[in-house]
């Protein structure tokens, strides 16, 4: 089992969700987050004074998939989230020890 965390643009969430659903991903968790990467924020103006927005609002998507689905899921996220511009985001993949479905107590990949 792998956990995939993707930081994406807000307005790409719908595309990514559709792409993931198509390849059979059955659940996901979405969080509104702020942060910066190499894009390093951007400048805004307020009443004539310039200021830097360091932490840009992004959307964090978390899914858990079986080993066989990892590459397909990554491809789907990239396809859905890419604009080609700086600030498209990142995908983090990590191994997962266990998953438990609270209602039934099932554990392991069956609980995904």
């Amino acid at each position: 089992m792998k956990k995939i965390e993707a930081i994406i643009r807000h307005f790409k969430l719908e595309d990514v969700k559709t792409a993931l659903t198509k390849i059979g991903v059955v659940g996901m968790t979405v969080t509104e987050v702020k942060g910066f990467g190499r894009q390093k924020g951007h400048k805004e103006q307020y009443r004539g004074a310039e200021y830097t927005v360091d932490f840009l609002p992004k959307t964090k998507l978390e899914i858990v998939v079986g080993e066989e689905q990892v590459q397909a899921a990554i491809d789907a996220i990239v396809a859905g989230a890419r604009t080609g511009q700086i600030g498209d985001g990142k995908i983090f993949v990590s191994s997962l020890e266990n998953v438990v479905r609270i209602r039934t107590g099932e554990a392991g990949s069956g609980a995904i």
Partner: protein, 575 residues
């Protein structure tokens, strides 16, 4: 059958009542102005009630039909028996005049009431603009200041403000043949303090300083006075709430409450000098400066005064933590731009009560000119600010455009009845540029005004007062502040019709501009110094500013005990 009997009975009573009407006054000689205005070509002059001619009355006990407002029953129904007008066929000229007068006063009073309601609602606009331009951690504090200034200020106005400002209103300088548009009852506002009393005991001063009648509205049991009180109170509210903008996000609540009870003092003193018959209004008669200080709806009295207090407050309280880093102003974005925009709309709507209501008369048909000028200056203010920001290389900042619209409205408040529409466009346009430059100017000086109150109200109020001295076209305000000048009155000598309206530079009267400049100088010196001393003094009673910890956390929790947005996670920057 029964109805006919009743009618006959009432007619009989009417006739037997005869001339002993309970309120018709003895005929008096009409003043020249009154006669010119009211006498038709008919041979016999009708009997005119004296309150209608402007000769008035025993000021201690003005006699007019409906002083207490309780006569509605028989004034609204034409043939309501002996105390009313009776049968229309039995209508005598004196009763007819009573009815005309009553109807005129009714129209005026309804107009003033409705306009006053609009002005009161402007408080909601101020609340939204100021809260929206502040940060979310202070939103409950800022908006509650805007709420509570209304009750606190109103209470002080009732206790002492109205008496100081308008206690000698009836003895102020007025046009020849004038009678109070709200009814003769205002003649009880007839006592004050001043220098150069024209006749001993008259209460008429060349240099009036303050009124002394009507503390706690004591003895003011008259509908006209009540209308005046209400209208003037909601005006003061506007002044009172301006400094809550320049001092928001750091003003301690207790000190603010003291301020709310104090602000009526400088406001009502200055209002007395300009509107209440004081020495500034009299500059025309005492020093030959135009029509004296002319401030139609309060660019100086309301807005410059508010701006001067706001400036003193912003200086004494100091900038917000983090506003200036190494002397360089930092952006501290307001948390709710749509709220600011809607607040601006509410204010612009309320201005349609503020300016035309200041005729104090719905029968003064100049109100449509006032409305058009008010609208034009407001829209050109917004356009000019937008264009000026873009010309300077900025984006059209919404909060700045809101400031621009308000700046145009503030500026036109003084000259709205006296200028042509092209001048209103110019005045609003200049205001829109001025407000941008002014915001940058105060920021460069290290003065932190989160909402632009000093620039919108102080600076552009002063521009409005001066603009009257430039653009007044002489078409309105004949005899204003008792100034009648043959020099500017083309045909006054022959036909008795005054044509000497309020004139500015473009109409050849330089002296009006001097009067306006004096008004501006006085409001800044007086308003600023009064407020500066007050904020320093009140700081000794209870601290003016919240602690650093409270300011960093946000004033909502520590000061108010309630967060504006408890259900949302709001982001705080480090300062």
């Amino acid at each position: 059958m029964l109805r006919r009997c009743l009618l006959g009975l009432s007619l009989g009573v009417m006739l037997s009542w005869g001339g002993a009407s309970c309120w018709a006054q003895d005929p008096v000689t009409a003043s020249p102005a009154g006669e010119a205005a009211t006498t038709p070509a008919a041979p016999a002059a009708p009997v005119v009630p004296d309150y209608f001619t402007g000769t008035n009355l025993d000021p201690k006990a003005p006699k007019w039909p409906d002083a207490g407002g309780g006569a509605a029953g028989y004034w609204t129904t034409p043939s309501a028996g002996p105390v009313g007008d009776g049968d229309p066929k039995a209508m005598t000229p004196d009763k007819l005049y009573d009815r005309i007068a009553h109807n005129t006063f009714s129209i005026n009073m309804v107009w003033v009431m409705i306009c006053g309601f609009l002005v009161m609602f402007m408080q909601a606009g101020f609340a939204m603009v100021e809260a929206g331009l502040g940060r979310s951690k202070n939103a409950a504090h800022t908006i509650t200041m805007n709420l509570m200034i209304y009750p606190l200020g109103c209470l002080a106005f009732w206790v002492y403000g109205f008496a100081i400002g308008w206690g000698n209103w009836f003895n102020g300088p007025v046009a020849p043949g004038w009678y109070s548009s709200l009814g003769p009852g205002t003649s009880i506002l007839n006592s004050g303090i001043g220098l150069g009393e024209t006749a001993p005991g008259s209460g008429v001063f060349a240099y009036g300083l303050m009124g002394t009648k009507g503390f706690f509205l004591n003895g003011m049991d008259d509908v006209s006075v009540m209308a005046l009180f209400f209208f003037m109170m909601v005006f003061m509210d506007t002044t009172a709430t301006i400094p809550t903008g320049s001092m928001c996000e750091r003003w301690s609540w207790k000190n603010f409450c003291l301020y709310g009870l104090w602000v009526a003092l400088p406001y009502c003193l200055y209002a007395n000098w300009v509107w209440g018959g004081g020495w500034l209004a009299n500059l025309g008669t005492t020093m030959g400066l135009g029509h004296g200080v002319v401030d139609f709806a309060g660019s100086a009295v309301v807005h410059s005064m508010g701006g001067a207090i706001a400036l003193a407050g912003a200086i004494v309280i100091g900038p917000r933590i983090g506003k200036f880093v190494d002397g360089k102003p930092q952006a501290m974005p307001g948390h709710h731009v749509p709220m600011v925009v809607i607040g601006t709309f509410i204010l612009a709507f309320g201005w349609f009560g503020f300016n035309p209501g200041s005729t104090l008369s719905g029968t003064d048909l100049r109100i449509s000119v006032v409305v058009v000028n008010t609208m034009l200056a407001g829209i050109t203010g917004a356009i000019a600010t937008m264009c000026w920001m873009m010309a300077k290389g900025f984006k059209p900042d919404p909060s700045m455009i809101c400031n621009g619209m308000l700046a145009g409205l503030v500026a036109i408040t003084c000259p709205c009845a006296f200028v042509d529409s092209w001048a209103a466009v110019v005045i609003g346009g200049v205001a829109g540029v001025l407000v941008v430059e002014s915001v940058f100017f105060w920021e460069r000086r290290g003065i932190d005004d989160p909402v632009g109150a000093i620039s919108v109200h102080g600076v552009n109020g002063s521009w409005g007062v001066i603009s009257l001295g430039i653009f007044a076209n002489g078409k309105y305000g004949m005899g204003w502040n008792n100034v009648v000048r043959a020099k500017y009155d083309a045909n006054g000598a022959e036909d008795g019709v005054l044509t000497d309206g309020v004139s500015g530079l473009i109409n050849g009267d330089v002296s009006q501009l001097w009067a306006q400049l004096i008004a501006v100088a006085v409001v800044w010196v007086f308003g600023f110094s009064m407020a500066y001393i007050w904020f320093k003094l009140s700081d000794l009673i209870t601290p003016l500013r919240v602690s650093r910890e409270v300011e960093l956390e946000g004033l909502d929790g520590p000061e108010m005990g309630a967060l504006a947005y408890p259900d949302f996670q709001t982001s705080h920057r480090s300062h």
